[in-house]
């Protein structure tokens, strides 16, 4: 599978502060990819590097096989909605569409007009007077009406109320349903991830902790509860992501491609939220210390 975003040893430094360092990842095409990680993990920096708003200090990044923003044609293939979904407050909704049509050779006016109508927006309204949800929808409309091959969204729903968030994601998924567009978006809202994303990337302190198709990840991870035991006795192929012991009991979150055969364990499925949090806390060192805390990536 070709990568829509491929980074190798990618780093960005501001003064003496590294916002992103030694980041290596490959995001596959044709998917809706959720990028999650704690604040300061480098998500926004990574996405801004991907659209060419920032230049890397070290390493390389390619987007759709080319350096970001290498040419006008390359710019046309990538859509981007920055954090807080910026619009021009003094321009009207209709002005935004005209601007989009002028600036983008591949502009799909029919799609833009259809979405604006479906959203119930008045083209004469000044964009600065729109609600947060409407603003986000307008920004999304501009990004998708240029018919990009890759749409990058930086925490598009962070500031929206639950209803506006759902409507935004509905709009996004309806466009994805038409086919031909890969999506990468960063988010803190894990509940959205499972509905909307095929593919998950957990980024912590610039490192990819886990990446993969969500259905496969859910199938491979399980919570084991059983009598307290030494983890060195686990069979090979079971990677412990998170572990906690009480006096008599051990609780493990493991990743294992095969079934768990030991009858001493009670085996339960793991929800996506627990899975993501386990990897995030593992990397921050807040999990139980122990020799079994391995970095799992592929």
């Amino acid at each position: 599978m070709t990568a829509v975003i491929a980074a190798a040893g990618l780093g960005k430094r501001y003064g003496r502060q590294w916002a992103l360092s030694d980041c290596t990842l490959a995001i596959p095409a044709g998917q809706v990819v959720g990028l999650v990680g704690p604040n300061g993990a480098g998500k926004t920096t990574l996405l801004q590097l991907a659209v060419g708003l920032l230049a890397p200090t070290t390493g390389t990044i390619t987007v759709l096989g080319e350096p970001p923003a290498a040419s006008a044609a390359q710019l046309g293939r990538v859509g981007f909605v920055a954090q807080d979904t910026p619009i021009y407050p003094t321009l009207s909704v209709g002005d935004h569409l005209r601007l989009g049509a002028w600036l983008n050779p591949s502009w799909d006016q029919a799609l833009a007009a259809r979405r604006i109508q479906a959203l119930g927006l008045d083209p004469r309204q000044r964009a600065g007077k729109l609600s947060g949800g409407q603003r986000a929808q307008l920004a999304l409309t501009l990004a998708i009406a240029k018919r990009p091959e890759l749409l990058i969204l930086d925490e598009p729903v962070a500031s929206l109320d639950p209803l506006a968030r759902r409507e935004f994601l509905q709009g996004l998924m309806e466009v994805v349903a038409e086919g031909g567009m890969s999506v990468v978006f960063s988010t803190h809202v894990i509940a959205d991830l499972e509905r909307v994303c095929d593919y998950l990337v957990v980024l912590v302190a610039s490192r990819v902790r886990v990446a993969g198709e969500i259905d496969a990840l859910l199938a491979e991870h399980r919570r084991l509860t059983g009598p307290r035991r030494d983890l060195d006795t686990l069979p090979p192929g079971q990677h412990v992501v998170e572990v906690s012991h009480t006096g008599r009991q051990s609780t493990l979150l493991v990743r294992s491609a095969g079934p768990i055969l030991d009858p001493a364990w009670t085996v339960e499925p793991v929800g996506l939220e627990d899975l993501v949090l386990a990897y995030m806390s593992q990397a921050q060192g807040t999990a139980q210390p122990g020799p079994t805390l391995r970095e799992v990536s592929r």
């Binding site: 998917q31 809706v32 759902r166 409507e167 994601l169 509905q170 998924m173 309806e174 994805v176 349903a177 509940a191 499972e194 509905r195 909307v196 994303c197 095929d198 969500i214 259905d215 859910l218 199938a219 399980r222 079934p259 768990i260 055969l261 009858p263 364990w265 009670t266 085996v267 339960e268 499925p269 793991v270 929800g271 996506l272 939220e273 627990d274």
Partner: protein, 130 residues
């Protein structure tokens, strides 16, 4: 036509939730042969869900021979899932009731019986647990 819902806290992959809901509806007779499943686009707009998820669920149902997709028209139920014939249920029920009586006489309370049943059920199902 049925409507799907998603429980994001269940730990069950969304595509499997859709598969389960269709199977459940077939078992209860809420869906019959010839009924149409909601179009992918309709499910996507209703649930704000990834279209590939719905597609994967429908593929899985198609693979198990329960539904068939007619390109450009939709996905239709071609087989129902009635459970075991009623005749078989009676004796099984009697056996289970006798067993429950024995368990109670042995001093097991409801919770212990349930735990024992689930444990046996899981080890018998054998897929995730052995």
């Amino acid at each position: 036509m049925i409507e799907f819902h998603l429980d994001s806290r269940s730990g069950v992959a969304p595509y499997l939730q859709i598969v389960h809901q269709v199977r459940h509806a077939l078992r209860l007779g809420l869906l019959c042969e010839g009924d149409q499943l909601p179009t992918i686009k309709a499910v996507v707009s209703r649930l704000a869900i990834n279209p590939n998820t719905v597609l994967k669920a429908y593929k899985e149902l198609e693979y198990s021979g329960l539904v068939a997709s007619r390109p450009g028209i939709g996905t239709f139920v071609v087989q129902t899932l009635s459970g075991a014939p009623l005749v078989a249920l009676g004796p099984l029920r009697n056996e289970l009731e006798r067993w429950l009586g024995r368990a109670r006489r042995a001093g097991l309370d409801e919770e212990s019986i349930e735990a024992l049943f689930r444990d046996c059920f899981r080890s018998h199902a054998g897929e995730d647990v052995a």
